[in-house]
């Protein structure tokens, strides 16, 4: 990547943009957001027909064989329309874990169903006591012949309200916060107890209880006790995806704010003529450009074979830190410059801001990623 998407990626973005223009206006999106599931399965099938759902998957499984740059290109467009459908949970997390897991039989039977849109998946890993700690897993999986018996609970499971299957992390050995001893299992929806809640960004998420759930060892995504590294690397991709989504959102917020200040009049002139607002809009413009640069630079680093794991982790932590800071600035300024109507339900601005807020709260906030960066850089 030479700090620009290639022709193929540009064409993909262009065709997504056109489809969204016809089918995903803010009013059309609102109808989906207000529905019980909070997503459109009809749209999801269309995405499958358009080939979008195949992008992150290898050609072996009938996928497009896309890398993290293709994922980012896609997610930027999803951010621009505040896509409600479960790209992160079903494609990046559930699908990504299966794709990189060692259980090839399970991947071969499941991934084609994700690609054709018939199966929605979700990752249930964070627990109520864990905040953002991926290794804090109290859910247990005890061997019972050729099966495992799972007990525990998972909270704020993204895409959990409509998932047909879940990947659940559980402890097969070790203490509650040990990185070793975590295993990943595929479960069916009817095996778990689900309660749903609606979040401020329109997503319907789930809290899940596992009450003596019996799972065959054939449903292990990877080797027993070795799930942690897989979780970390998959979350790394998800964090890049969320960052790309954020960049898409930042672009829209800045553009919308500029347009608004040109039309809103005060003291007989458009408020965009006031220098105090101009300079603030320049600051949010620069924040967006810096975020975009960091995203593209990180994509270059991640797709360079000579980049070490340590450098990859540092790059993604730096990216998420910057996106969190700049997202907050851009969101706050968009609301302030729109005036009180910036947080009304009628206007799209508040919805974009709420999604940015939510992105900064899932998997880790800015401080969490900056602390991790500091540990890697100075520890």
């Amino acid at each position: 990547m030479n700090f620009e998407f290639n022709e193929e990626q540009k064409m993909l973005k262009e065709s997504m943009h056109r489809w969204f223009q016809d089918n995903y206006s803010f009013e059309q999106r609102r109808i989906i957001a207000d529905s019980e599931e909070g997503i459109s399965r009809e749209h999801w099938s269309t995405f499958a027909e358009l080939g979008w759902l195949s992008i992150p998957f290898s050609e072996d499984h009938g996928g497009f064989g896309g890398n993290v740059i293709d994922i980012a290109a896609m997610m930027e467009e999803f951010g621009k329309v505040l896509l409600l459908e479960p790209a992160i949970s079903s494609l990046i997390l559930f699908g990504g874990l299966l794709e990189s897991g060692s259980n090839k039989t399970l991947a071969a039977s499941t991934i084609p169903q994700i690609i054709d849109g018939s199966l929605l998946g979700s990752l249930a890993t964070y627990e109520p006591q864990a905040r953002y700690d991926l290794s804090d897993i109290a859910t247990t999986a005890n061997a019972d012949g050729d099966n495992y018996i799972l007990n525990g609970q998972k909270s704020i499971v993204l895409g959990g309200a409509h998932a047909d299957q879940f990947i659940v992390s559980a402890r097969t050995s070790g203490g509650q916060t040990d990185e070793a001893g975590i295993s990943l299992f595929v479960l069916n929806r009817d095996q778990v107890i689900i309660s749903t809640q609606r979040m401020m960004d329109g997503q319907v998420v789930a809290d899940i209880v596992l009450d003596s759930v019996k799972v065959p060892s054939a449903n292990l995504v990877s080797k027993v006790d070795a799930g942690y590294d897989l979780l970390v690397s998959t979350l790394q991709t998800a964090n890049v995806a969320l960052s790309a989504e954020s960049v898409g959102i930042m672009n829209v917020l800045n553009q919308t704010t500029i347009e608004y200040t040109k039309t809103r009049k005060q003291f007989g002139v458009p408020i965009s003529s006031f220098q105090v607002l101009q300079h603030r809009m320049v600051d949010t413009f620069m924040a967006c450009e810096q975020s975009k640069s960091m995203l593209y630079g990180t994509l270059c680093e991640l797709t360079d074979d000579t980049t070490t794991d340590h450098e990859r982790a540092m790059a993604v932590n730096a990216l998420r830190t910057l996106i969190a800071r700049n997202g907050k600035l851009i969101g706050d300024e968009a609301i302030q410059m729109h005036g009180g109507m910036g947080i009304t339900d009628e206007l799209d601005v508040g919805h974009y801001v709420k999604r940015l807020l939510m992105i900064n709260l899932i998997f880790g906030n800015g401080d969490f990623y900056q602390k991790r960066y500091n540990q890697l850089a100075y520890g």
Binding site: V282, G297, L322
Partner: protein, 118 residues
């Protein structure tokens, strides 16, 4: 000092912004090498570059502590005195960066007009 969480935060605040600026520069260079001419994005580079420079100069002065107040210019009696004096000079001279070459306020006017169209 490098183990102090607050110091680490100040350092990485700068480091992360600097990394992003490096990538912004590479983006500009990539677009120049494909035939484009330098545009108003050079104002962005000037603003961010000088702001980051000043943050770094400030942190350097605070890192060395009270020694940064030293007015000694030559015949330094200790390494600390030398570091301190150099840090102070850098900080003081560095204040000019956001003023010269078209002050950062003028650069913001340029971006507002040429890029944002307001």
């Amino acid at each position: 000092m490098l183990n102090d969480p607050l110091y680490q935060k100040r350092l990485s605040d700068i480091e992360i912004e600097l990394k992003a600026l490096e990538y912004t520069e590479l983006r500009v260079i990539a677009s120049l090498s494909s035939g484009a001419t330098p545009g108003p994005e050079s104002s962005l580079l000037k603003i961010k570059g000088t702001e980051i420079q000043q943050l770094l100069q400030e942190l350097r002065m605070e890192t060395i502590g009270a020694h940064s107040g030293s007015l000694t210019q030559e015949d330094f009696s200790s390494e600390l005195q030398q570091f301190g004096s150099v840090a102070r000079q850098g900080y003081m001279y560095g204040r000019a960066a956001t003023i010269y070459g078209g002050s950062n306020e003028v650069q913001r006017n340029v971006i507002a007009k040429a890029v944002l169209g307001v």
